[in-house]
Symmetry: C2
Subunit: 216 residues, 2 copies
């Protein structure tokens, strides 16, 4: 793998390219132009060429990229070929939906790398029940389970006021990256990654564009 520091926005686009290529499918020798890939991913063709050129010369002038080879390269660049164990904190409606979604994806897509290995909740009535065949554990068991299952990523869907405490416990247990659905900023030590998911921010962006158009 070529060793370059890749900006966040480029990583996001690489992830998008891989997703649309998987959705699209292809016969063994099929090529895709940068224009078609760009259209599928919602960017422009020059952007596609520039992003991919960061990692070497995949494309062929005037022909484009071999679809299956490009997919393989993207999987390798993104490290998307190796399984990654995740856990979910907060097994309410959102946590349950995510657990089901991720385990179903994994069952039907052999290349799908995310494995849900543990679920955590504070509610004693939920502890011991199962979702998609995975036992719900007490948050106090996090240290033990994260080590035993080699879990690196935690998805947080607990209420805002509980998110920081859960995050702190998870960090002490060895979790190194979070996808946070609680609408609060988390304080984490240097080197721990947090990605925020907030439906309100998404809606706000959409309405900005709607209103700008109405006024424009």
């Amino acid at each position: 793998m070529v060793r370059v520091k890749v900006p966040d926005v480029v990583v996001r686009r690489l992830v998008d390219y891989l997703r649309v290529l998987k959705d699209r499918g292809a016969s063994p020798d099929e090529y895709i132009s940068s224009a078609e890939l760009a259209a599928l991913a919602g960017v422009n063709a020059a952007q596609v060429r520039k992003d991919l050129a960061l990692f070497g010369e995949f494309g062929k002038q005037g022909v484009g990229y071999r679809v299956l080879q490009l997919r393989k390269e993207l999987v390798e660049i993104l490290g998307a070929g190796e399984p990654m164990s995740v856990c979910i904190f907060g097994i309410g409606e959102l946590g349950t939906a995510l657990a089901k979604y991720l385990t179903t994806r994994h069952k039907f897509d052999r290349e799908y790398p995310f494995l849900v290995k543990a679920l955590f909740d504070v509610n004693p009535r939920k502890v011991g029940t199962t979702v998609s065949g995975i036992r719900v554990s007490a948050v106090t068991e996090v240290g033990e389970l994260v080590k035993a299952q080699d879990i690196k990523v935690g998805i947080i869907t607990v209420p805002s006021e509980a998110a920081q405490e859960v995050c702190d416990m998870a960090v002490r247990s060895g979790i190194q990256a979070f996808l946070n659905f609680a609408p609060v900023k988390l304080r984490v030590p240097e080197g721990i990654f947090v990605k925020y998911q907030d439906v309100t921010s998404d809606l706000q962006e959409l309405t900005f564009f709607l209103r700008q158009r109405t006024e424009g």
Copy 2:
């Protein structure tokens, strides 16, 4: 409002600034430095100054921004002060979680602009039930309800294979922007906005950074 074409990434950051300022709170005459705002939003101070300068001179050299005034300006820039009606397609676990989250937010935060006005599902056993006091309607009622309630934004949480059909019906009914949780690309007419939400892409980004660090 100053009329400038604002890039998507800037809009996203403005939304983040507003969110962290609301979380932070402030006394009437309190100032915040670009450095503090940057730290809260996870960007650098120069970026904050550059983004805000697009809309005029809010800051005071060496002092920063008046928190409450900056919040007011951001609300105005983003059009976040006026209520916006949304509907949800697909009242499974994710749709239910979103309906509850958005209606609860609205109840406890008077400034919260998003109002869930309608819920849609194809399952006849769900139609007629209520979630957070809102009736679940059949998807065939979308035309009527979207017009009656002046709904502009649709949240899609239906299974992938149903997403395009739901989107087409919604567009014909007058919905102009979508937040799409189904992991498929939607085809929409020019001028219709789609924002994608995909937990898999988020996890992929996180694991890229984790693996890059391990190998680095």
